[in-house]
Symmetry: C2
Subunit: 352 residues, 2 copies
């Protein structure tokens, strides 16, 4: 539980010595391009991206220190990886493929070059894994802390794009993977941070929690699920990625599609480690799934006629269905209570 | 000389009341789309941009409060306008046309809704003027101050794109408009801020300085120059926009092109108001041009054979030529001194 920033210490290389252009040269030296459409990388006023007859998808995400991440327990390399991964997830949520990113970084003078290099290393690791090219950026100073802005550009054939607005009453609501793990990872890290503050000699007690920690620190965009759906010849009617929590994302789908939704608590998929961790925090796992966020799984609707095609696919769970009650979503508990879903406030669930 | 933030005062609408999605709804309500290629605006995980057989250009810029702007004297509406304008300028510098932007905003709780609305109003004003569509964004909180990240996406035909690397020895170096004004505007605003701090009853003394103030607060990308060059059948061999100051941009061109450059001090174009303001600060106008930055004029090279085509075009000045001395640039003064250009440090020019 040490900060990668303070550790860099006095031996770190000052960025102000390098200057902005020196920093850019340093950071871009290791960039390799993967996409035939990436015609240039950093070095001009704008990157050049060739077109290939598909539609372009673009999305931007800001990550702010103290709001979206805590460098006390987030290694910068993981942070860089996550920053890219969550952007790729935005393109995946449209059923598209990410090809390029441009990166803006604002950082205060407390960050030595080594810290920024680590951040970039993580970004490039995700870029390499998902065959995404880092084609441009802007690096500047900030008056406090670190801010990362990533814009991702992808493509999809017009007829393959999945919007949030395509769900219809009666369609099935599906989710990939399992939920709640990232939030349980966050709670664990926050608990260890508090324990370390109280007693710096304490060793962190994170054994056996690898899965939920990795889900928090190093999420993966579910591009593999898109491929599985394509192979099963299923095109989701609506799709979104789970960044803010299941309840919030369901309400987004309902609002955009003009439908309602009903889900079943006992259909929400969990990993055993998530269940154990939730138990140790005396928390209902459903709360972590509904309200926790950062799982970056895909939430999507399919027509009932596609039920047979996906019912046996490992890693996809049907958790409910869309209704004709616009904007209203609820959850049926195992004991047949019906609980309205709201984007915030889980008092109703704080039972047992 | 009042702050638009503190003025919003206790009557301002708190953004935390609205929530992120309420804020996004509020901010995007007035967005109109201009481009046939903008197939969707905000509302999904990514914006969809149709392709039309051209190459895509993309660029990102971060603007950080306390680093790039001072809200003491920068109206938020102007700031929004400028943030978009400088991004359009990046695409113009590639000889391309900007079509879409995505906007990331991080802001602390001291900003009421009215402040963010003003910022957006300025952004949309620039969008409307330059027929650029705001197609997506991310709004989040920051722990201190305001940060704006804008990614601009444009297109150009492959054969029309101007890179920094295309200049050859012997070619002519040209600049659009006039230089140094934005920097003189900045010095004036800083002087008035200091005077106001010393004596808050003092009225700002900015009469007669409209031109340099507007150049600082509300710069325009020179898309008109691109059109003029097209009509004159001139394609620049290399191009860059002047954001960091003439000297720095010349060195970028030299480095990317593997050439040197010589310019002539008496060929640098100035507006009379810039000359007067520089005089009142007892500063050589050339220093403002070389080192000041933020003029957002276009700096470009053309083949000697194009000389006749542009020599009589109003608003384009030939200020020097490229040499075969890689990476080395200098300036000839009216009294025939030769001064090496460097990206920083103007001691050599602090004469007379």
């Amino acid at each position: 539980m040490t900060s990668p920033i303070s550790d860099a210490g006095p031996s770190g290389t000052s960025i102000s010595q390098l200057g902005e252009f020196g920093l850019i040269r340093h950071l871009t030296a290791n960039i390799r391009l993967h996409q035939p459409t990436s015609l240039t990388a950093a070095g001009d006023d704008a990157a050049v991206i060739g077109n290939d007859g598909k539609q372009t998808l673009v999305s931007v995400d800001l990550l702010v220190e103290g709001v979206h991440f805590d460098l006390t327990y987030t290694p910068l390399k993981h942070l860089g990886y996550k920053a890219v991964a969550v952007n790729i997830s935005d393109i995946a949520a449209m059923n598209g493929t990410a090809h390029q990113i441009v990166v803006g970084i604002a950082l205060s003078s407390r960050f030595p070059l080594e810290a920024v290099s680590e951040l970039y290393e993580g970004m490039l690791l995700a870029c390499n894994k998902y065959k995404v090219d880092l084609v441009g950026g802007d690096t500047t100073s900030s008056t406090s802390g670190l801010l990362i802005s990533i814009t991702v550009i992808g493509t999809a054939k017009a007829e393959e794009i999945c919007y949030r607005s395509g769900a219809r009453p009666g369609e099935l609501l599906c989710v990939s993977g399992d939920l709640g793990a990232a939030y349980m990872g966050l709670l664990l890290l926050e608990r260890e941070k508090a324990a370390f503050k109280a007693n710096p000699d304490l060793q962190p007690d994170l054994e056996g929690f690898d899965y939920v920690l990795e889900r928090q620190l190093k999420p993966e965009p579910r591009t593999d699920i898109l491929e599985i759906l394509r192979q099963a010849d299923v095109k989701p009617t609506a799709m979104i990625d789970i960044s803010d929590g299941l309840a919030s994302e369901i309400l987004h789908l309902c609002k955009a599609s003009g439908t309602g939704c009903r889900i079943y608590e006992d259909k929400i998929p969990f990993d055993p480690v998530t269940l154990n961790t939730a138990d140790s925090f005396n928390m209902l796992p459903a709360i972590a799934a509904l309200n926790g966020g950062e799982d970056y799984e895909l939430l999507f609707t399919i027509g009932q006629s596609d039920f047979e095609k996906i019912r046996n696919i490992r890693g996809i769970s049907i958790i409910g269905h869309m209704t004709d009650n616009p904007g209203y979503a609820d959850m049926v508990t195992p004991d047949n209570q019906i609980i309205p879903l709201t984007a915030q406030g889980w008092d109703a669930l704080m039972r047992g």
